[in-house]
């Protein structure tokens, strides 16, 4: 188990390095930030001076080595826009992103598990039909559109909640609902199909042949065995949400990491883009490690193979 974890950690570090390298290369292909940063009509000398100041005049491999060395120390350089260390610009946005991702996941896991279980338990009835129709709609509805509709209803028409911004728990409700709809729908659909598969398994018949109460059969012999795909899905969703949900953050003017990175790309603020992507890649690696650990807890056969 220890060796397994170490090797997964090694894989994760390689993955982060790969992601960061690709971002470095791609961002250098996007154009000259010096032109963008200086007002129109700046002289060639002014441009040169800025490039030298930013280190953009040195050979690309030298920039890369400097960059990697800095990245190891958490130093991605100064943000071109904010003139502050890029990493702290990114990390400042993390609480907002985590609040949104956390609440969307909470909504998704709780409602998704309830809805998925209901659909599986009441298979072939109107309950399953309604739940699955809602889940399909929830998964297919574009997030920005749903967000706008919710703003129209709850903020503009009813005036119950703010239209956007990052100001207390009330401002969290609409964006969390918007993102939570998608996560709920994804988890519900996956859990339902997983449970329907497990219900056909012989061991469920054994459990019923023991005379166990329906609740025991459901929790210990159906739900317990259906969790692995759900954990995988939650891991992927958590990675995506913690990386910042650009669309939702934009619709609700939510000061999260996703919107920050997109704005930094538009402004060719390389240090912020690189720091942001590195942070997201790290989050993904950590979540994957966590998911791997959970697999082992959930399924002894996976534990045995390690």
């Amino acid at each position: 188990m220890g060796r397994f974890l170490l090797s997964r950690l090694g894989d994760g570090i390689v993955a982060i390095w790969g992601v960061v390298t690709i971002v470095f290369v791609v961002s250098r292909l996007l154009g000259d930030p010096a032109i963008l940063l200086l007002p129109v009509g700046a002289t060639e000398e002014q441009l040169q001076a800025l490039r030298a100041g930013l280190g953009l005049d040195r050979p690309i491999w030298e920039q890369y080595v400097t960059f990697l060395g800095g990245a190891l120390r958490g130093d991605f350089g100064q943000s071109f826009q904010f003139m502050r260390p890029a990493l702290s610009v990114v990390l400042e946005r993390m609480p907002a992103t985590m609040a949104l991702a956390g609440s969307a996941l909470l909504v998704g896991v709780v409602l998704g598990c309830v809805a998925g279980s209901m659909a599986a338990l009441f298979r072939g009835t109107i309950v399953e039909g309604v739940v699955m129709l809602l889940a399909l709609l929830g998964q297919a509805t574009p997030v920005f559109w749903l967000g706008l509709l919710l703003i129209l209803l709850f903020a503009v028409d009813l005036g119950l909640l703010p239209t956007g911004g990052y100001d207390g728990p009330m401002s969290l409700v609409l964006p969390a609902l918007t993102l939570g709809t998608f996560t709920t729908a994804s988890i519900a659909r996956l859990l339902r199909s997983g449970m329907l598969d497990v219900m056909k398994d012989d061991h469920v018949r054994t459990a019923r042949a023991k005379g166990l109460l329906p609740g025991t059969v459901f929790l210990w012999h159906i739900a317990r065995n259906s969790l692995i795909p759900v954990v995988t899905m939650v891991g992927i969703l958590a990675g995506e949400l913690l990386g910042g949900s650009v669309v939702t953050e934009t619709v609700f003017s939510w000061p999260g990491v996703g919107r920050l990175i997109v704005q930094a790309m538009e402004a060719k603020d390389f240090p912020v883009v690189q720091a942001g992507v590195m942070v997201i890649a790290t989050i993904f690696v950590v979540i994957n490690l966590f998911v791997d650990l959970l697999y082992g807890l959930l399924d002894p056969r996976i534990r045995a193979r390690r």
Binding site: D202, H203, T206, A209, K210, G211, R224, D299
Partner: protein, 329 residues
């Protein structure tokens, strides 16, 4: 007194808009202390009717169309699910065919043996696990205390079937229904499980219904044999009488297809030609008639009732229009 009496049980299956009565009308009983071996090929209704008795038949596609199944004075088919649940795993134990899939792969063996004890005997988890250790010893698994914390994948097929047996007998059932418990196992392991079951039956004084397609297994364990085909009883009687003088051409065919010492080595085993009938398109008459070389014209027209055989052996019954010993003579 009969511990289990089935009267007029009828079970159907729906598939793709069509409906089949896989068990048209089944009546038989099992005396307390008796071991009944039910033999038949796939689709003979032998497993389906057992699942139907215990409320384990998936409905749909299955449907119980009628009949009674009186266990210890109470009709299993008429009682509410909650009462049936109290019997299942308690006074009626069941063992299934495939031990590789019948256990929950993500729960410990200990928990899986403890569950029925907690449910039916109101034991605590601690008490149930203690009892589970004893049960493992009873089914021949040594080092039970350690093995309780293991998972099914750490057991071989034969060991898993022993665990299944431990689960089934944990609450000392009056009736044990074993649905092909040795079919998925190696021949040597089959023998061990058979011996174990016979020993446990005697020790716990269990009545047993043993479902199999293997005549040899029945010969080893059963008092009474009941040969089923297309949901009907073709022949039934004491094992010795039926093996010595089968009266149904189907029983005769099954016995002839067994390898045994008297047959010259290298010779071909007999086989019954044809395939079981399509239950979605039933024909009138004896369902076995199309495959029966001894069939009379009447066999094709009219289904024979189960009647006593004139051999003065109590309980020997056959459903046939023809007289097999005369035809074989």
């Amino acid at each position: 007194m009969a511990l289990l009496a089935i009267e007029g049980l009828s079970v159907g299956f729906a598939r793709e808009g069509r409906f089949a009565r896989v068990i048209p009308d089944l009546t038989y009983s099992v005396e307390a202390g008796e071991t009944l071996g039910i033999v038949g090929e796939s689709g003979s209704g032998k497993s389906v009717h057992a699942l139907a008795l215990l409320g384990l038949l998936p409905q749909p596609p299955g449907r119980i169309l009628g009949g009674r199944a009186v266990f210890d004075g109470h009709d299993l088919l008429a009682m509410p699910e909650a009462r049936l649940r109290d019997l299942r795993g308690g006074r009626i134990g069941m063992i299934f065919q495939d031990p590789m899939t019948a256990l929950n792969p993500v729960l410990t063996i200990g928990r899986q043996i403890a569950e029925p004890l907690i449910r039916h005997k109101a034991m605590s988890m601690r008490q149930a696990l203690d009892r589970a250790t004893d049960l493992l010893a009873l089914v021949g698994i040594r080092d039970g205390a350690r093995r309780l914390s293991q998972y099914p994948h750490e057991f071989s097929g034969g060991m898993r079937q022993r665990v299944m047996i431990a689960i089934a007998i944990s609450c000392e059932p009056a009736l044990l229904i074993a649905d092909e418990p040795t079919t998925a196992l190696d021949v040597t392991v089959q023998g061990q499980i058979l011996d174990l079951m016979a020993e446990l039956r005697d020790r716990l004084r269990m009545t047993m219904v043993w479902i199999t397609h293997d005549m040899g297994v029945v010969a080893g364990i059963a008092d009474t044999i009941q040969v089923m085909y297309a949901g009907r009883i073709m022949e039934r009687g004491p094992v010795n009488a039926v093996f010595a003088s089968p009266r149904s051409a189907y029983t005769y065919g099954l016995l002839q297809s067994l390898p045994h010492g008297a047959r010259p080595p290298g010779g071909r085993l007999m086989q019954i030609p044809g395939a079981p009938p399509d239950m979605f398109a039933p024909t009138p008459g004896d369902p076995f008639a199309p495959r029966n070389p001894f069939a009379t014209p009447r066999c094709h027209r009219e289904a024979p009732p189960l009647r006593a055989v004139e051999d003065s052996v109590a309980g020997h019954m056959v459903a046939a229009w023809y007289d097999l010993p005369r035809l074989l003579a």
